[in-house]
């Protein structure tokens, strides 16, 4: 069984300044994986480069063993909520239906089938009552649920999400993590750019530590150690109890978040 995502030798530079340097990352199928690292470590760039949204100096991405360009319909992408203009004149239902555009292809318009699928996805994120709302009327948590519904409606097998917990309320965070666990239970692979180190062990079973280079990646129990975190964050991290250096730890805070 090929890995869900296989990134090799990915290097990205802006103005000759490396943002990512020779990153290799393998994500097995059926895992729920966090990508963590300090601000400016290249986490967002990593997923954007993997999806071909920013130009990479080198590297390739395989999705289920095939190049991403041939596997687009298998990948559900959830960009950062702040990356779009929420004053755009459209409804919640319309935004969710955009998740079906890839399978519709060029020219074909969404119809009843797309509408039904979008409603089902909205129901899944408990936003069905908001279907006809103008998107500017949503709270941050509701916007995030709409984005999640838009990815769900794609019926992808790999989901890549950029900070889905950013600025959402606790209820939404629990609702989202429940849906991500359902996806994993259904055999899907979910990769999440994540900021809150305290929830890594609770939410995820795999973790990738990134700071321009890949510091470590693997099961949380093996990789999420004090030594690796110090290597990733440098001095900008504090721990509740000093670990032995090779056991999973509970960091309490990072500077710069």
């Amino acid at each position: 069984m090929p890995p869900a995502i296989d990134i090799t030798n990915l290097t990205v530079a802006y103005n000759d300044q490396p943002v990512l340097w020779e990153v290799d990352l393998t994500v097995p199928q059926g895992t729920l994986m966090a990508i963590v690292g300090p601000n400016g470590a290249g986490k967002t760039t990593l997923i954007k480069a993997a999806l071909g949204l920013v130009r990479a100096a080198s590297g390739q991405t395989l999705i289920h063993g095939q190049p991403y360009a041939d596997q687009r319909s298998l990948v559900g992408y959830v960009p950062q909520r702040g990356s779009v203009d929420w004053d755009f004149p459209t409804s919640v239902l319309d935004v969710v239906m955009m998740g079906r555009y890839a399978s519709l292809g060029w020219f074909r318009r969404p119809g009843r089938r797309e509408r039904d699928l979008a409603m089902a996805a909205l129901d899944q994120v408990r936003m069905a009552d908001f279907a006809q709302r103008q998107i500017s009327q949503l709270s941050g948590g509701q916007q995030q649920r709409v984005f999640l519904a838009r990815a769900l409606v794609q019926a992808a097998s790999v989901y890549i999400m950029d900070e889905p917990f950013q600025g959402v309320d606790a209820v939404t965070e629990r609702a989202i993590i429940a849906i991500l666990r359902d996806l994993r239970a259904a055999g899907k692979t979910v990769v999440v750019v994540h900021h809150d180190l305290q929830t890594v062990t609770e939410y995820f079973d795999w973790v990738g530590l990134i700071n321009v280079r890949r510091i470590a990646a693997g099961p949380v129990a093996q990789v999420f150690t004090e030594a690796n975190l110090r290597a990733t964050y440098g001095g900008r991290i504090a721990f509740l109890s000093p670990g032995a250096g090779d056991r999973p730890v509970e960091p309490i805070a990072t500077a710069g978040d």
Partner: protein, 285 residues
């Protein structure tokens, strides 16, 4: 058909043609690129004229449209260098191409060129009915033929690529991830904006082109929450501004293009104050 009616039809056609791509420019926060394009197309027209020596040649249309696209490309090239911001890049590219065109134009003065700085800025709508073309046995002003053609093209493009334009305007990253090339759509849209500006420019001048591309969509944006309705309302508001502007010009015995651009401002102000949901009065209450 009377000349009065013909002038109004040309004005309404130009308004509708400009409003359609204008909606996407406003939503993409690129309204000012229309200002740049509508000026720099003069460069293409003048260069085209110097090459083919014929003001009626369709090559002038092609050259002008290409100059519009060239403008967009140069602005992006400068912006991508990360040494200049986009608005600065627009302010660098368009005066350069425009003034080159004006210099060449004054070099040609005395020839058979009916172009001059005044008609460039405000157009000569009054004279449009004298320049006629006969197609399918129909004898109509050239401006009606040209602008109906461009309107049809705009309708066709937006009709065919409505879903793709909507997605790439709202969320270009997802559009790219799903394999709908936002760059291709962007340049297709910019080509249409250029073509629209070229067709409209000849009839109504630069200032009205910008007013008609930006004003009606900006007003429609305050009136609806749906993209499809915004397109329809923009066309409606553009046509209303054009027709009322024509009658205002008759009443005050002044320039038609100037009066129409003024009416765009008046209609926008009315909407800005009285719009049922997003108007000033509603906000204050």
């Amino acid at each position: 058909m009377s000349m009065q009616l013909e002038i109004q039809i040309i004005a309404a056609l130009v308004a509708a043609t400009c409003a359609l791509p204008g909606v996407f420019l406003v939503l993409r926060r690129m309204a000012m690129i229309s200002d740049a394009i509508s000026h720099t197309i003069l460069f293409g027209i003048v260069v085209g004229f110097i090459i083919v020596r014929d003001l009626a040649s369709p090559w002038l249309l092609v050259g002008a449209t290409l100059t519009g696209v060239l403008t967009v490309w140069l602005v992006e090239l400068l912006t991508r260098s990360q040494r200049v911001k986009e608005d600065t890049a627009i302010g660098l590219v368009f005066p350069l191409l425009f003034s080159l065109a004006v210099i060449m134009l004054s070099g040609l003065a005395g020839g058979n060129m009916h172009l001059d700085e005044h008609s460039v800025l405000l157009g000569e709508l009054v004279f449009a009915p004298f320049d006629r073309l006969t197609f399918f046995g129909l004898d109509l002003p050239r401006a009606i033929w040209i602008n109906s053609g461009i309107l049809l093209l705009n309708l066709l493009f937006i009709g065919l690529f409505y879903k793709e334009l909507k997605l790439s305007t709202f969320d270009p990253q997802l559009a790219a991830a799903l394999g709908f090339s936002p760059v291709l759509l962007h340049y297709a849209l910019m080509t249409l904006v250029s073509l629209t500006a070229v067709g409209a420019f000849d009839a109504v001048g630069v200032i009205l082109v910008v007013a008609l591309i930006v004003g009606p969509p900006a007003a429609a944006y305050l009136l609806t929450d749906r993209l499809s309705l915004m397109l329809i309302l923009s066309v409606g508001i553009g046509i209303i501004s054009a027709i009322t502007g024509y009658w205002l010009a008759r009443l005050l015995n002044t320039t038609i293009a100037g009066a129409m651009a003024t009416m765009v401002g008046v209609v926008f102000s009315l909407v800005f104050v009285f719009a049922p949901r997003y108007g000033l009065i509603r906000r204050l209450r």
